[in-house]
Structure formats: C-alpha cells, structure tokens
C-alpha cells in the first residue's frame, strides 16, 4: 500500500510541477491543484497507513496501536480547506487577468492574442 501511495504522490507532484512551469494560467492553476493533492496525500500518510483503523478512541480503549493517528487527519482537513479557498481566489485573479490582458499567458503578453 505504501508503494502505491508513494507512486501516486510522486506522479501527482511531478505532473503538478511540470504544469506549474507552463506558460498558460490555466495550466498553472491545474498544476497548483495537483501539487496540493500530492501534499494533502503526503500529510495524510505521515501518521502511518492502516486499513480500517478508527481515529477516535472507544470507551475503555487501552491498545493505542490499533487506532489511527487523528492529528494528521485534522491537519489535512485544514490544509484542504485553505488550499480550496486560495485556489478559488487564484481562479478569480486568473479570469480578471484574462479579461484585462486579452490572453491567458502568465505574463499577460505573448504575441498571440
């Protein structure tokens, strides 16, 4: 399971970085989104991967090793919310830039309107 997750994170991050370096604003925002998926999966995995483990202690639980670490899950939720909000804001700026510059190049000028 670790290998699958690691490959998924790597593929997401790699494609994200490639798209981030592209000249079109839409590619940049998709790249940022992919990177944020990769980062969220990464944070989710730092508590250790377990199938079917409960993050909330049931009454009288003593064996903590049978439970998942709840803190990374809380962290990743916060990170998802913040990432979502900032991506939405970036999208608005992207559309404004498209409207003002007349093209979707990241520098607002590329010779092909």
């Amino acid at each position: 399971m670790e290998a699958v997750l690691a490959i998924a994170i790597g593929a997401l991050a790699g494609s994200g970085v490639w798209l981030l370096l592209r000249p079109r604003t839409f590619q940049v925002i998709i790249g940022l989104t992919l990177i944020s998926y990769a980062v969220n999966l990464f944070i989710f995995s730092i508590g250790g991967l377990r199938v079917g483990a409960d993050p909330v202690l049931a009454g009288g639980a003593t064996d903590l090793s049978r439970y998942a670490d709840p803190l990374p899950q809380a962290l990743v939720l916060t990170a998802i919310v913040i990432g979502f909000a900032t991506t939405a804001l970036f999208l608005v700026v992207l559309l404004t830039s498209r409207g003002l510059a007349g093209n979707d190049h990241v520098d607002g000028e590329d010779g092909t309107p």
């Binding site: 981030l20 730092i46 990170a79 900032t86 700026v93 003002l100 510059a101 990241v106």
Partner: protein
C-alpha cells in the same frame, strides 16, 4: 498577568474585520473609525504584553496561553516573549501610522480596503504569537489571503499581472511549507516548537536526516517570503505595483519571514541541539543573505522609479538581516533587531513618500525617474543658477525624502545610523570570511543607497522644475511625518529601547526559558 491577554492581538482585528464586512461599504466613516479603534487597541495591548514580557525575572517573563487548555504537545499554544511582543508592537504602530494615509483617495480605489487591512493584522499577529508550526501555516495563509486582496486593491492590468505571479509563488511556497511540516510531524509526532526543541537533540540517523530535510523545506518557504535572492524576484514587481499604503504595510511581511527564521533557527537548531544539528543551515543563510544584499544593491542602483527603489531597499534590508541572523551571536542579533525596526519604519515611510511625489493621473505607478542624458543636460547650465522658490509642501516632502534617505542608508544623525552601528560593531569581533564580507557589503550597500537616493532626490526635487506635485492631503502627510517622527524620537530615546533589544537577543539565544515556559505550562494543565 492573565494569559488570555495573549490571544487579544488576534481577536481584536478579527472582530473589527467581521463588523466592517457586515457594515457594508456605505458606512465608510464608521468602518474607518473601527479601524482606528482596533489599531489603537492593538498598540495598547502590544505595549502591555511588552511590559509583561520585560518584567524582571520570574514566571511573568514569557506568557503562554494554551487554547482549550490541552497539553502543549497536542494543543495550540500562543507564546509571548520579548521578541513576539516587539514584533507585535512594531506592526501595530506601523498599521496605526499608515491608516491616515489611506483615508483619502487610496481606500476609495476598491470596496474592502479597511477589512482587508484588519485581516492582514490578524495574520501578522497570529504568526508572531503562535507556538506551533501548523498554526504558523494557518496564520501565514490568513496573512497571504488578505495580502492578495490588498495587492490587487485598485485593480488595473499592472496590479493584476503582478498579483498573479505573487499568488502563484506564494501558493507554491505554502505547499513547500506543508511538506516540511509533514516531514517534521512524521519524525517527531508533534509540531509544537518548544516540544520539538526538546526532542531534536535526541534524534539520530534517518529521523535526524528527515528532520533536517523538513526544516530545510520550511526554511525555503520562509526564504521565499523574505524575498531572499534566488527566490525573491517576485518582490520588486509586486510591491511597486501595489498602492503605497499597502506596500508600506507589506514592508513588515519580509520581516515576518526573517522573524520565523530567527526564532526557529535559534530554538530548534541552537547550540543545545546536539553536535549534528547545532546551527543547521546557518552557512547557507549567511551566504544567501550576502548574495541578496548584493542583488538588492545592484537593483537599487538600476531602479527607474521610486516604488522599485523602495522595493530594492526591502531586499537590501532582508539580506542584511538574514546574514546577521546566521552569525548566531547575541550582540549581532540585538543590532539586527534595531536595524529591523528602523528599516521597517523607514521603508514604509519611503513607500508612502513615493506615492506622494507621483503625478496624480499616473494611478498606475510611483514617480518615474527621467533617464539621464548628458547631451541635453541643462543641469549645470548658467541660466539655471537662479534662486528656485519651492512651495512649502514641496519643501516638507523634500525634507521627508532626505530623512528617509539618511535612515535607509544608515547615515548620522538619525536613528538609522545608530541601528546600523549597533549591527556592524559586534560583527567586527566575529571570525570567518562570511562575517567580514557581510560587514564590508553592508557598508557598501549603504553607499549604494546614498547614491540611488541622491540621484532620485536631485531628479525629483531639483532638476525637474516643471514637475507638478499633486496636492498632498493632510492624512497622507500625517502618516509620513508620524513614521519619520518615530525614527526621530528613537534617535534621542535610545537607552530603554536598546536595553530591551539587548535583553531580547539574550533571551532568544538561551531558548531554555521558552521551552520551559511552554512545556512546564503544559504539565500543569494536564488533568
């Protein structure tokens, strides 16, 4: 002292912003009044926190507030020590001084200037107060979200273009931040800075390497915020495109990056962190600081408008501070803190001035400098040797410009000189090529500042007789004079601030007190 006071610097602007948004854009006066009230309250609270943090000895020195009263290893803690209190007071004073400037034409350029400024303050204050890395991330995002709105305030193709780059690079930096936080949490199982500092000396082998990797990624994220050389190219364009009061408020943002690097490098990788981790990365920080200093100086000499010139001043001060922080010497750190305070106030005043001397119709930028062309140079022609009469506002503007130049270059008699002297004098006893180079380059950067400022001043106030200065609104003048006035007062009132800064530097160089205050508090709170 009641620990709950530590959370008020976050709550006051948050409440003000919430009410301002609810009030809507019709009740502009009420919104402005609220902003002033909030900033005044912030200055008062910051001063109280500063007094409690500098109370001699005992438990009163470092104030810890654990939200929800959970143990520190899991909980969110807010910590006020001397350094946090200093930064809180600095941003509160900066915000209060900049507010009058925006009252006139600037805040009318868009609907939500005042609430965004308050949210920016929430981000600043939270980041200065927080005692754990994840909350640092959260408050950084709050700060950045507000700063995106402020950078775009006034709209226009140039601002939107610069804002697009600014947002993209900051989102990327936030991702690096999260990866670093993830690595550190994976290794240690905590994100509390004090608990981390406690755990790091015990790490060995792979966990230590992962910890270093995580810290390096975190550091990279903060270096991007501090606009250090290879990752700082976003700054001049963004800052010169933003409206002057926003750029002035942003002057403290790069210092937030420096603050975090100072805090974390001394807390996590101080002398107590074990042989393999002590002073981790400080060589890199020193050389990056030196390169930033050089890059900023070159940019300053080449800057073609006042906004860019001020932006490169930010780079120069960032580089100087980073290099000074990397030397790990309490005396140099104390000087660096003095330099930080003066450079924030001086650069903010300079951004505001740059907005005042720009022609009014040129909404899209600061005063542009004429290209120097000796062929048509009438500068020294005989017919020009008549007495030029300047109207009083222009004389005041020119005097403020001169004061800014002296402050930023670190020339006597103003407080810029005192700060720079305090920074440079202890550097002389430091060994190593880096320290010597930093010393020489800081002085050279001062010379570059003098040249750039003198050139700009001559072109704006002397050479260009036809230049139409826009009418200066009273509020705008109040802001500039207030910022420069604080620097002027700091020229005469030196002993008390200097003692505070020296004690601050000693305190952050001996992080045992901080660690004890946070973790000791946690054991008490445990049921």
């Amino acid at each position: 002292m009641n620990g709950a006071l530590a959370v008020t610097p976050v709550l006051i602007p948050l409440a003000a912003a919430a009410v301002q948004v609810l009030l809507g854009i019709r009740l502009r006066r009420l919104r402005t009044g609220l902003s002033f009230l909030s900033c005044l309250a912030l200055v008062a609270v910051a001063a109280m926190l500063m007094m409690s943090a500098s109370a001699p000895g005992g438990e009163g020195a470092t104030l810890v507030y654990s939200l929800g009263n959970w143990p520190a290893r899991f909980a969110i803690v807010l910590v006020v020590d001397r350094l946090s209190a200093l930064m809180l007071l600095l941003t509160a004073v900066l915000a209060l001084a900049v507010l009058p400037y925006a009252l006139g034409r600037w805040q009318r350029m868009g609907p939500h200037f005042q609430p965004l400024v308050q949210l920016l303050l929430v981000g600043y204050n939270g980041a200065f107060l927080t005692g754990d890395l994840f909350n640092l991330f959260v408050f950084f995002e709050v700060l950045l979200a507000a700063s995106y709105g402020l950078a775009l305030h006034g709209s226009g193709a140039r601002r939107v273009g610069a804002g697009l780059h600014y947002i993209a690079i900051n989102l990327t930096a936030s991702m690096l931040f999260l990866i670093g936080v993830g690595l550190i949490f994976g290794v240690t199982g905590t994100l509390n800075m004090a608990v981390l500092a406690h755990l790091i000396p015990g790490l060995t082998g792979t966990p230590r390497a992962l910890m270093h990797g995580g810290a390096a990624l975190l550091g990279l994220a903060f270096l991007i915020k501090a606009a250090v050389w290879p990752v700082g190219f976003w700054l001049p364009r963004t800052y010169s495109a933003a409206i002057p009061p926003v750029a002035a408020l942003f002057a403290a943002m790069t210092k937030l990056g420096i603050y975090v690097i100072l805090r974390l490098s001394l807390l996590l990788f101080g002398a107590d962190a074990g042989a393999a981790s002590a002073h981790f990365g400080s060589e890199w920080l020193l050389w990056l600081g030196i390169i930033t200093l050089v890059a900023g100086s070159i940019g300053m000499l080449g800057a073609r408008d006042l906004g860019k010139l001020a932006a490169y001043c930010v780079l120069v001060s960032s580089g100087t501070l980073l290099g000074a922080v990397a030397l790990h010497s309490p005396a140099v750190t104390a000087g660096a803190l003095a330099y930080l305070v003066i450079s924030v106030l001086g650069i903010a005043a300079f951004f505001l001035l740059a907005g005042l001397v720009a022609p009014r119709e040129a909404h899209d930028g600061a005063a542009r400098l004429e290209p120097y062309d000796p062929a048509i140079d009438a500068l020294f022609a005989a017919e020009d040797e008549r007495r030029v009469t300047s109207p009083a506002p222009v004389v005041i503007l020119a005097a403020c410009f001169l004061a800014c130049g002296l402050l930023l270059a670190g020339l006597p008699p103003l407080s810029g000189f005192i700060a720079k002297f305090a920074l440079l004098a202890p550097m002389l006893v430091e060994h190593g090529m880096g320290a010597t180079l930093l010393f020489a380059l800081t002085i050279a950067a001062g010379l570059c500042t003098v040249i750039a400022m003198a050139r700009a001043g001559i072109q704006i106030f002397w050479a260009d007789e036809d230049r139409e200065f826009p009418r200066v609104e009273p509020g705008e003048m109040v802001s500039v004079v207030a910022l420069l006035g604080i620097c002027l007062v700091l020229t005469f009132v030196v002993a008390a601030p200097w003692n505070y800064l020296a004690a601050t530097a000693r305190q952050i160089h001996a992080p045992g007190h901080y660690i004890h205050a946070v973790t000791g508090q946690a054991t008490e709170a445990r049921p």
